[in-house]
């Protein structure tokens, strides 16, 4: 409630999108192998102060989407098509040095495993000041108090002493906070968080999610949240995109999506997770099969072999993402009946 209420609700309708991704397609090619399309025509918008969630299981293309937007995919072996317009500039065609300028300043990213994203032989404070020196042309001396301020802001106790600590001296939660401090150093307008709490314990996860929520509401940063955890999405994201096999299969505002999921994959996901609320003991309803059973999107619905209610069309024709007026979108020939 707090997140959405204080987030400029009007901005969702009025403001121009900060980031606008259109028909993003990432194809990995390897010699002697068939090209593999990891992301297959993904489009979404992110507005200032808005949190957009990309949800799906491993292999659905959610991480590749974020890496493509950030220009962090390896230089060879892949083809990126489509556009990702950030304030009028297409990030996907931007020259390397221009992109490097933007990354860290306008757009920042935090990753799942903070230990492998931090430099193990450089103190935390130095890693934060480095960002400021690079993008804000500050001297190291001038940047240190700013770094201290940042560590304090993300809730690291005793930041003065932590400045000189190395990553291994911090706990997992503290490392993730340090990483967030680095990402925030230049007050980016867009933050991409790729499974930021997956490696953390649940009590620490609660701390980090609280911190991210605060950031979005206080500074109006736009947040793209990539996760497999529907619980995290339910509490944090204004808009939720459910991905399957590289395509968005359902989209909606969080209350509407969770109240009335329409795509059989979304309902299947919700039915297959044990929950802390509600009655215990009823057997779970898993989604049968695995991602390996997917059909190619070109002339079928990839989810059809695992679907609970497929019709003939599902294996003959590729469903399109149909939008309605209320911000909902659905890619399905035979959706689950709306419950409300």
């Amino acid at each position: 409630m707090t997140a959405t209420a204080t987030t400029p609700g009007s901005s969702r309708h009025g403001d121009e999108p900060l980031l606008s991704v259109r028909d993003l397609r990432v194809t990995f090619t390897r010699q002697g192998e068939d090209p593999f399309t990891a992301v297959d025509g993904v489009s979404f918008d992110v507005r200032p102060g808005q949190t957009v969630g990309l949800v799906g299981e491993s292999g659905c293309g959610k991480s590749v989407t974020s890496l493509a937007i950030m220009g962090l995919l390896p230089a060879r072996g892949n083809r990126v098509e489509g556009t990702a317009t950030f304030e009028g500039t297409d990030l996907l065609t931007l020259a390397k040095d221009k992109m490097r300028d933007r990354r860290g300043r306008d757009i920042a990213m935090i990753f799942q495993d903070p230990l492998s994203s931090l430099n193990p032989v450089v103190p935390i404070g130095r890693q934060v000041t480095e960002v400021l020196e690079r993008h804000k042309s500050m001297s190291r001396k001038a940047a240190t108090p700013v770094a201290r301020e940042l560590l304090d802001r993300v809730g690291i106790p005793d930041p003065d002493r932590r400045l000189t600590d190395y990553p291994h001296q911090l706990s997992g939660g503290m490392r993730q906070r340090a990483l967030i401090a680095m990402a925030l150093a230049c007050e980016p307008r867009l933050l991409i968080a790729d499974e930021p709490t997956t490696a953390l314990d649940v009590t620490i996860q609660a701390q980090i999610l609280g911190l991210l929520k605060e950031l979005v509401t206080e500074s109006g940063t736009a947040l793209v949240m990539i996760t497999h955890d529907l619980g995290v999405v339910a509490g944090l994201c204004d808009e939720v995109n459910v991905l399957y096999g590289g395509r968005i299969v359902e989209r909606g505002r969080r209350h509407e999506l969770f109240a009335s999921p329409r795509h059989p994959y979304t309902t299947g996901l919700l039915a297959s997770i044990p929950r802390l609320d509600g009655a215990r003991g009823a057997p779970l309803t898993p989604i049968p099969g695995s991602v390996a059973d997917n059909l190619p999107w070109e002339h079928a619905c990839a989810f059809a072999p695992r679907c609970s209610q497929p019709v003939d069309r599902c294996t003959e024709q590729s469903p399109e993402l149909e939008h309605d007026d209320g911000g909902r979108a659905l890619r399905c020939f035979n959706p689950v009946e709306a419950t409300s």
């Binding site: 707090t2 291994h168 314990d201 649940v202 996860q205 609660a206 701390q207 619980g231 297959s272 997770i273």
Partner: protein, 405 residues
């Protein structure tokens, strides 16, 4: 190793509450008392000198009845996996006894222990690293049967293998395949079939579904439940995911820093968590329901888990507890006890001095200074040269321990 067949010490500390429980525990399969697993921290250039211990499991009593599923939850580093291994004798306990079906496993060694292992098997978290990539599924399954003399008749073995695969939902053609040819969920099925192959009574499952995708998780959870009914198995499920544990378990034990802080039936625990740590833990789990998420009242814990090599004195949780009361929490380690609250069954036990007062609202939560827990951690890192005192010297372990956590 001072393992005693008659667990006098552990029983004495338990008090009258334990006696009351003993009556309805006619058919215990596992009776672990006072289990401690301490890992020595060694240091030295020429000679290894023990400079301290990691108190991974520090005095846990655990009783599992036949046919039930006992869930062990806690955050990383709380010792839940080590306790699971200690019960199987994979990690010999430093102290305490583990009686499985009438035999004290902790005192068994070598060949005798190996033979007894037929009765208790383990399912691991990551099926890719717990299945030998060079062994076919058939060879993986037969290996254990051979080791326990169950594969003497080829024909019977072949039909047993088919039976096993059918039970875990794999096609018979899977026998000739290798682990890499399967998906994660299927691999976990192979791991479960391997554990089942020797007809065990107890299966310890360490994070059986946490490496799997959500949609596949449910398949494996349902499978574990079906198999329990079919083969009358007893489970000890070790997991960090509270929703999974609640779903699968009959009784649940919550661990914090090497000790059980609360134990109760699954429904009782989630309906009325009574230990401050359990309350915080349950309140931190996100629920896939936006309306509930917006209303959810969180008890945010500050700081991190203290190092298990230097657990805080008194109640292990007092450094982060919002309900901590001066001196008693700092000095006296609470034991699991039945509370004097109406409607709380005697099977619901809590290790907290103030659980009644917290439940009645007599004690209100207060602010916890995060630097208090932090500075403890810092001192440990900053003063590694304090000599003479083993407690102080524990800091030496930092590098080694950090890599493992």
């Amino acid at each position: 190793m001072t393992t005693t067949a008659e667990p006098t010490d552990a029983a004495a500390t338990d008090g009258p509450a334990d006696d009351a429980r003993a009556h309805d525990d006619g058919d215990l399969l596992v009776d672990a008392r006072g289990v401690k697993v301490h890992f020595p921290i060694k240091r030295g250039v020429v000679f290894d000198k023990v400079v301290g211990h990691v108190y991974a499991v520090d005095g846990v009593d655990l009783r599992i009845r036949k046919g039930e599923t006992y869930g062990l939850v806690g955050e990383s580093g709380c010792g839940k996996s080590t306790l699971g291994k200690a019960i199987l004798g994979l990690e010999p306990p430093t102290d305490g006894s583990v009686v499985i079906d009438g035999t004290d496993v902790a005192s068994l060694k070598g060949e005798e222990l190996r033979k007894r292992r037929k009765d208790f098997q383990m399912v691991f978290q990551d099926p890719m690293s717990s299945l030998d990539p060079r062994q076919s599924v058939e060879s993986l399954l037969v290996e254990g049967m051979k080791a326990h003399g169950l594969a003497s008749d080829d024909k019977a073995t072949a039909s047993r293998l088919r039976e096993l695969l059918k039970a875990v939902g794999l096609p018979a053609a899977a026998l000739k395949k290798y682990p890499h040819e399967f998906s994660g969920g299927q691999r976990q099925r192979i791991g479960i079939a391997r554990a089942l192959a020797v007809e065990p009574k107890l299966i310890v499952a360490d994070e059986p579904v946490s490496a799997l995708d959500v949609s596949v998780q449910a398949q494996v959870i349902n499978l574990l439940e079906d198999l329990q009914d079919e083969f009358e198995l007893t489970y000890l499920v070790v997991a960090h995911d509270l929703a999974v544990v609640r779903h699968i378990s009959d009784r649940i034990g919550v661990m914090y820093l090497g000790g059980l802080v609360e134990e109760a039936g699954a429904d009782d625990l989630y309906a009325q968590p009574l230990h401050p740590y359990t309350r915080a833990l349950l309140s931190a789990v996100p629920v896939p329901d936006p309306t509930r998420e917006d209303e959810r009242e969180q008890i945010l814990l500050v700081g991190d888990l203290p190092s298990p090599s230097k657990p805080p004195p008194g109640c292990r949780f007092h450094t982060r507890c919002p309900w901590r009361q001066e001196t008693r929490c700092d000095d006296e380690r609470p034991q699991l006890r039945v509370l004097e609250i109406d409607g709380v069954p005697s099977s619901h036990r809590v290790a907290c001095h103030w659980a009644e007062d917290i439940e009645s609202g007599k004690i209100q939560p207060h602010h916890v200074d995060p630097t208090a827990t932090e500075q403890d951690l810092r001192e440990e890192q900053d003063a590694p040269h304090a000599v003479g005192d083993v407690e102080e010297a524990v800091q030496y372990q930092h590098g080694g321990h950090g890599a493992g956590s």
